[in-house]
Each structure stands twice: as structure tokens, then as C-alpha cells.
């Protein structure tokens, strides 16, 4: 929420929050369930298209557009998850990758609906309404940021509840040891599928918000590259908890924005960052912050002790 102080562009701040939601959703799979999904872009792209189509053709309200994006994300996750969770490890990854490609070409080959190469253009951002009464104008970038900020907070709280719940903690046990989770009585597949659906819904919502941010739903929003970006943010942030994903998304979005203005080949540097994370900071940026905080605390704990000693010395 302190972003307005740090960032000069409202759109950039909004984009950050949107990707933070997508990264959290990815983290629920990667960090909590042990599923590395390369298919998050499917849900993001479908969410973009859904809200774009609803706004363009039906001129629906903000709430309905977002509901549509969330719903289509969840629905696609049921479909993709149904097949993908039948396999584990590398095969699961390959299946999500295959679905990502499939949905991309599906979008590409249906220009009447998706606009094909051009995508959907001129998506108007509706104001927030309540029973026809205008509640909040989302016209300016910072006003839209405020709206997305509220959505983000709600999503964060809900996801945090999911992570802490009996369901979320069972996911952790499945991540640790699938065979044992099954042996103590859990139908592992249904837990994975539900995690997938929650993840898909949140990612779809993020996609819908993104379409309204940029006013377009381009073909690139369902590209494999989006899946990769979301996964990168999640890994860079760290998979230990959900807030790490927010940090990861922030680091990615801000760094990418800054590097892009410095050097057109900035993706190369991002590659180096990823290599550094995988080699030296496997808990991601969150792990680094954690260590820094720990070091700071121990130094602070040492400081009063030193002061006390000094005091004793004076008394003596």
C-alpha cells in the first residue's frame, strides 16, 4: 500500500499488484503442494479474454467482468488439472506445458472471438457500481490502482486463510510425502485438483484485472511466456510463504521496468538473477530478507548486552 510513495507510475504499481496475485496463486501450487505448473498463463490469458469479451460485447459491470475472469480461470483449471495431476514430477510439468501451448494456439486460431494476433482492443474500464449507483471512479491510473489494491488485499487475506487452514496444511503434507498422505487417508488427487482450481481462479482474476489495466487482451497474455514470468516471480520471491510471492513479483516488475529503460536485452540479466537465486538463495528473496532480519536482531541483542557490560565496567 506504500507503493505510491515508491513508484512514480500508477500503471506500474497496479501491474505489480496484479502479478503479485498471480505469483501467490502459483506459490499455492509450487510451494504448498509441490506442483510446478507451467500452465498459469492459460488461466491468466483466459481471464483477460473473459473480462475483455464481457466488457466489449455485454458492457457488464466491473464485478461481473471480474467474476467472469475468476470463473473461467477456475473452470480451465478443473479441465487442465483433471489431466495434469494424474502424473507426477516431470510428466506433470510436461502436461501443463502441453496445455499451455494448446490454449495458445486455440486462442490464435479463433480470431473471431479472441482477435487472433491483434487481441481484443479498446476494452473500456468500467467504474465500480453498486446497484447502478456509481461507487468509485476508476478512470485515472492511481484510482484504478486503489481499486486493485483493495482486491489484492482481499485476495491476500483469503489466500493466507487457505494456506493456514486444514486444507492448506494437508497440502503441505502432500508436498512433503505424497505416499504417506495417501496412506493416512487422504485422496491426494482431489486435494491437488482443488489447489489447482483455487490457483486458476486467482490467476484468472489477475488476468481480468490486467486486461482492464491495459485496455487490451493481447494474444501474448495467454502465451507460454506469461506462465514462465509468473513462475519466475514465484521462485525469485521464495516458496516458503505467500508474502514472498509479493516480494518476488515486486522485484521482477520493478527490475524489469528499470532494466528495460536501460538496456533492451534486459531479459538476459533476469536470467542471471534466476541463476543466482537457484544457486545461492534457494529460499528466494524472502530467505535473504529473513537472514538479514535475523542478523540485525542478533546484533541488536548483542548491543544492549555490550551496553550492560559497559555499564558494569563503569560501576566497577
Amino acid at each position: 500500500m506504500a507503493l505510491p510513495l515508491a513508484l512514480s507510475s500508477g500503471s506500474l504499481a497496479t501491474e505489480l499488484l496484479i502479478y503479485a496475485m498471480a505469483a501467490m496463486a502459483c506459490n499455492l501450487l509450487l510451494g504448498y503442494t509441490g506442483l510446478m505448473s507451467f500452465g498459469q498463463g492459460i488461466f491468466f490469458g483466459l481471464g483477460s479474454y473473459a473480462s475483455g469479451l464481457l466488457l466489449l460485447h455485454l458492457k457488464v459491470s466491473m464485478a461481473l467482468a471480474l467474476l467472469g475472469a475468476t470463473g473461467i480461470g477456475a473452470l480451465a483449471a478443473v479441465f487442465v488439472g483433471w489431466f495434469a495431476i494424474r502424473q507426477r514430477g516431470v510428466y506433470f510439468v510436461m502436461l501443463t506445458l502441453a496445455f499451455a501451448q494448446m490454449f495458445y494456439f486455440l486462442a490464435y486460431s479463433m480470431p473471431d472471438i479472441t482477435g487472433g494476433d491483434n487481441g481484443l482492443l479498446d476494452i473500456a474500464r468500467p467504474n465500480v457500481q453498486f446497484f447502478g449507483q456509481e461507487m468509485f471512479n476508476t478512470g485515472s491510473p492511481w484510482r484504478y490502482y486503489a481499486f486493485v489494491g483493495v482486491v489484492f488485499l482481499a485476495v491476500f487475506v483469503v489466500m493466507q486463510c487457505v494456506a493456514e487452514s486444514k486444507f492448506g496444511r494437508t497440502l503441505l503434507s502432500i508436498r512433503d510425502n505424497e505416499a504417506r498422505a495417501s496412506a493416512v487417508g487422504y485422496n491426494v488427487k482431489s486435494f491437488k485438483l482443488l489447489a489447482f482450481v483455487i490457483s486458476g481462479a486467482v490467476t484468472g482474476l489477475a488476468g481480468g484485472l490486467h486486461a482492464m489495466l491495459t485496455g487490451i487482451a493481447p494474444l501474448s497474455s495467454i502465451e507460454y511466456h506469461v506462465s514462465e514470468t509468473i513462475l519466475l516471480m514465484t521462485i525469485i520471491g521464495g516458496t516458503g510463504n505467500l508474502f514472498a510471492s509479493v516480494i518476488g513479483a515486486a522485484a521482477y516488475v520493478v527490475t524489469a521496468d528499470w532494466l528495460a529503460s536501460v538496456w533492451p536485452r534486459w531479459m538476459l540479466l533476469l536470467g542471471l538473477l534466476l541463476i543466482a537465486v537457484t544457486l545461492y538463495m534457494q529460499k528466494g528473496l524472502w530467505g535473504v530478507l529473513e537472514r538479514a532480519a535475523l542478523a540485525l536482531r542478533s546484533r541488536r541483542a548483542a548491543a544492549p548486552a555490550a551496553a550492560v557490560e559497559a555499564g558494569q565496567g563503569e560501576q566497577a
Binding site: K166, F167, R169, N177, A183, G185, Y186, N187
Partner: protein
């Protein structure tokens, strides 16, 4: 006829249980009857099919042929996770824990497995008064794990891990518990403690099916012993009958089963 009658009260009746892996038959039409409140040991040389039999009885792997009746209900076709809700639970020969979770959480998750739907649609954090939490607390005490309750399972000593392994099998309040070499890799003192623990399970009314190589335990606390060889049942009987059986002695190639007494 009298044989069949004596199996009337059996808690678990396995008939013709067969498990094939390709051309290899690991378990070959095994019959097994486990009476309620007894300790039933399954012994045999390495590769006799003991663990494969456990896998099929508990549903860890699907059965190739045969039937498994538990409390007059056919469970042979049920996946393993559903058999837990019927009242079957197992521990593993190779320790299989939730390594990064705390000991208490390992037990709570295992206890919650009795009511998995409450976890699948459980959107609240587990609380103090929950049945699963209470079960975890009582098992911590019984298995002397209170002092390490908050430690990650991966950081426990081997003996503690083996105790947790068995405790997790009991967490789902089973009627019958399958213990696959609970003492594997344990030191002498720990083995005696585990023997007492297993015996106390019988006193609490559990039926225990036990794979064990330690003959002191097998002969000391079993009510019935089934000896397996090459995937089949060689002999079944009381510890005394097994001890003096020629075929068993031959199967074990020596006198390890008699402890050198004969």
C-alpha cells in the same frame, strides 16, 4: 470344518490374495485371518513377499486377484486412502514421514486422515479442541515425543522417527494396524521399548499385524505367526508350534528362529 468356524470372528479375512508384477508373482494366493485383539506376525526370509502382502492388504498397491474382507465388508478393491476410514492403517518399513512438518503436525495430519473431507473442505485453521489435535497430543505422550513436539520430523533421531512412524499409523484410530518392521535399524534399548508398545496396543484392543525380523519380539508377543516363503504361506500357528516346525527351520536355513536353543 472346525477351521472355518474358528475364523468366523476374524476381523480381517484375506482369501487367495495374489500380487503380480509382470511375470513375477510376489504374493501367491495367500489366505490370512486376523482375529480381533490379537498380534499376528508375518515372518519369512527376505523376499518372501511379506511387504508385498502388506501393500495389497492396506491398498498401497492394487491387488491382482483375491478378496479381502474387513468386518464383513469387501475392501480388496478400495484404494488405500479409503481403507483408512474403514479402520485399517499401516506403518512403513522405510520411515515415511512429513519431513518438514513438526512432529505434532505429522500426528495431527495423520489423525485428520480419519475424516479427510473435513480437511478437503476445511477452510479454518486447526484448533486446540479438534479431535485430530487431541489425538495428536495423546500420541505425543504415549510415544514419548512431547519434548520434540515442535521439531521438524527430519531432525529427529532414528529411534524417534521410528516411534513417530508407528504413532502416525495409530493416529487415525484404526481397528487393525499393520506394522512393517517397526524396529528396523533400532538400538537394543529402543527395541525393548517398541516391544512393550506393540504389546500395549493389543491390550488396548487393537488387532496388530506385524512384520518383524526380531525373533525375540515375534516369539514373545505374537498370538499367531504366519511364515511366508516365495510368496506363499508356508505354515501358520502359535509361536510354540512354529518354533518346533521342521519346514520353518529349513526355510530359515538354520537355527535363528529357535535362538540356538535346539
Amino acid at each position: 470344518m472346525s477351521q472355518i468356524q474358528s475364523y468366523q470372528g476374524a476381523l480381517l479375512q484375506a482369501r487367495g490374495v495374489t500380487k503380480r508384477y509382470g511375470a513375477f508373482t510376489a504374493v501367491d494366493s495367500v489366505d490370512l485371518n486376523v482375529m480381533p485383539g490379537t498380534i499376528h506376525s508375518v515372518i519369512g526370509p527376505n523376499g518372501a513377499g511379506k511387504t508385498s502382502l502388506f501393500h495389497t492388504l492396506t491398498g498401497t498397491v492394487p491387488i491382482t486377484a483375491g478378496s479381502i474382507r474387513f468386518e464383513d465388508r469387501e475392501v480388496g478393491h478400495l484404494p488405500g486412502h479409503q481403507r483408512v476410514q474403514c479402520g485399517l492403517a499401516r506403518s512403513f518399513q522405510v520411515t515415511s514421514l512429513f519431513q518438514s512438518l513438526s512432529v505434532r503436525e505429522n500426528l495431527r495430519v495423520a489423525a485428520q486422515g480419519r475424516a479427510p473431507r473435513a480437511a478437503l473442505f476445511g477452510w479454518r485453521a486447526p484448533r486446540e479442541g479438534d479431535a485430530a489435535t487431541a489425538m495428536a497430543e495423546s500420541l505425543l505422550g504415549r510415544f514419548r515425543l512431547e519434548s520434540v513436539a515442535l521439531r521438524a520430523a527430519a531432525l529427529l533421531s532414528h529411534g524417534q522417527q521410528r516411534r513417530l512412524e508407528v504413532a502416525m499409523a495409530l493416529a487415525a484410530r484404526p481397528k487393525i494396524v499393520f506394522l512393517d518392521e517397526p524396529t528396523s535399524g533400532m538400538g537394543v534399548d529402543d527395541i525393548q521399548e517398541m516391544k512393550q508398545l506393540i504389546f500395549s496396543l493389543k491390550q488396548d484392543g487393537f488387532a496388530v499385524v506385524l512384520i518383524e525380523h526380531n525373533m525375540d519380539i515375534v516369539m514373545g508377543i505374537s498370538d499367531t505367526i504366519t511364515v511366508m516363503q516365495l510368496g506363499r504361506v508356508l505354515v501358520e500357528g502359535t509361536p510354540n508350534a512354529i518354533r518346533s516346525d521342521d519346514r520353518v527351520r529349513k526355510a530359515y536355513l538354520g537355527n535363528m528362529i529357535t535362538g540356538g536353543m535346539n
